[in-house]
């Protein structure tokens, strides 16, 4: 699978790949939840490449984000990885279908008809080349080798560099469109619980209970985990005192948080679980009370 995801990256094939994660490695835990494939979604295929990965927290979101995933894939001509937790994959929940048109359905950009010469990978009107379908009259070449704007294999460093710059830029210059996240009670928060998927639901429940006890706790739920919302997390790091990152792995998301936060005085802690169970609100509350956390040792 990973090799062909790389193919989709280099040939700029719009596609959505769903990975409902189970506990691993290998046959691991059939079929219990785990969030062990976050880094795999980012780096699983070989070679440097940008990628988009979305992560729903509910069945409703699974429905809506699937539409978003296809839209992003078509708009930016990139594979989009749809990461799910096993519990969400198997969950039955009420879904309110959006009215037709409420979530727009984007079509890929096609080249105009009747061009003398169609350059399938040229930077014409933007960073995302128009895409012709086979059989529509433009005969061209698609390959997993590095290629020139005409689609033919190349070893020329200038063409290869140009390609890398373009495919990274088409994602990096559109972060406002690609990054989806949900903030709750962040205005006055001293502690933020940052998470994704099923863990975010425990985080939100825990944060509400903590608020009831008078603690200033908020949540940041990432729906786009790749590209990582670096600026959002960096800004958060300059406003809050503590960031808690619960996740069903040994600490994949927390590394990104540590990488982005520039203030050493901000305490960043994790809760990790790998045994096939989920993290509960009680566990999160307990961690928030822990003596070793700054602000708790009075």
């Amino acid at each position: 699978m990973q090799e062909n995801l790389g193919y989709a990256c280099i040939a700029e094939v719009p596609c959505v790949v769903v990975n409902v994660q189970r506990g691993g490695p290998s046959t691991g835990l059939p079929t219990s939840p785990a969030q062990g494939d976050l880094m795999q979604a980012r780096w699983g295929t070989h070679g440097d490449h940008p990628i988009i990965a979305l992560y729903p927290t509910s069945v409703q979101e699974a429905f809506e984000l699937t539409m978003v995933a296809f839209n992003l894939a078509e708009k930016y001509r990139t594979p989009v990885i749809f990461l799910m937790d096993e519990v969400i994959g198997h969950m039955r929940e009420k879904v309110v279908f959006p009215r037709e048109g409420q979530i727009p359905v984007l079509e890929r950009r096609k080249p105009p008809k009747g061009l003398d010469k169609f350059q399938p990978f040229a930077e014409d009107d933007g960073l995302v080349p128009a895409m012709a379908a086979f059989g529509e009259g433009y005969r061209y070449h698609v390959t997993g080798l590095h290629h020139d704007p005409a689609g033919y294999p190349t070893l020329r460093p200038d063409e290869i560099n140009r390609w890398f710059e373009r495919v990274f830029a088409k994602i990096e210059q559109n972060l406002d469109d690609i990054l989806l996240y949900r903030e709750e009670d962040l205005e006055d928060a001293e502690t933020v619980i940052l998470s994704c998927g099923i863990t975010a639901r425990a985080a939100r429940a825990a944060a509400r209970q903590a608020r009831e006890q008078g603690r200033k706790v908020g949540t940041l739920t990432l729906q786009t985990i790749w590209p990582f919302p670096e600026k959002v997390v960096r800004d958060l790091g300059s406003r809050v005192r503590r960031i808690l990152v619960p996740e069903l792995n040994r600490g994949q998301l927390i590394r990104e948080v540590q990488r982005c936060v520039r203030h050493p005085e901000v305490a960043i802690g994790g809760i990790n679980r790998l045994d096939g169970g989920v993290i509960t609100p009680a566990q999160i509350l307990e961690k928030l009370e822990e003596r070793s956390w700054p602000g708790n040792s009075h």
């Binding site: 086979f134 009259g137 005969r139 698609v142 005409a150 033919y152």
Partner: protein, 287 residues
Amino acid sequence: MARKLPLIHRYLRKDKKFPTVWCPGCGIGVVLGSLIRAVHNAGIPKDDVVLVSGIGCTGRMPVYVDFNTLHTTHGRALTFASGVRLANPKLKVITVMGDGDAIAIGGNHFIHACRRNIEITAIVVNNFIYGMTGGQFSPTTPTGDISATSPYGNLAQSVDICELARDCGASYVARSTIYHVNEMEKQIARAVTTSGFSVVEVLSTCYSRYGKLNQKGSPREMFRALKDQTVPIAKADGDERINRGVFIDRAEAAYSDTYQAIMAKAREHDAGEPLPLLKPARTGGTP
């Protein structure tokens, strides 16, 4: 009077820089010539042809030809080709694969493409070796032959691609060689016009990575040996040599037509009405 250019020049890409990646004396170019003539004679417009390959020396074939061309990953030509065909059944989808590409890493896909009998033509260029990567043995390397990974002789039995294809359900299965160009051309022409999954195995030569190691002589001697080592099926009685000719030809089934019909049925299905099999079972008194 100007010399008339051979037909294939009308099909080679003018904007693609030649020469090809192939070694002097390689047999792959001969297959490309036959393929082009067969498609031309079958009257299939260039716009309708999708030529799909995997990875290998054979896999480099599509880039030179003015069709819709798709150079995929090692072993996966048939998976991409199936996608193309299901997405647009008007297209004539042809895959070219090496023996390693089609039968080693792609062996599983090959079996299931035969089983589905999907409307794709698979041309397998069997040079008995992994040519591109330096001459490692493949599933068709004869037992005992020398390769980069079997310096004391290949241990395993070799597979018969045509028997495999026929037994797995392909509609059309034929074998020829690069020595028998007319025969190959006829087989390819039939393959691209029949329905169902069609397989043409073409025995070819790899002088650089196989011939030299096994003292097979010059490229020309290797070409000629294909004549001596093979026999037409009709004359094969009791002959131990490799059979050439048509193993099965039973134009049948149309997988992607059936697929289109099922899609139409699914679209007509009332979204509010569950599929019969998915209706929740009533158990334990709870409705």
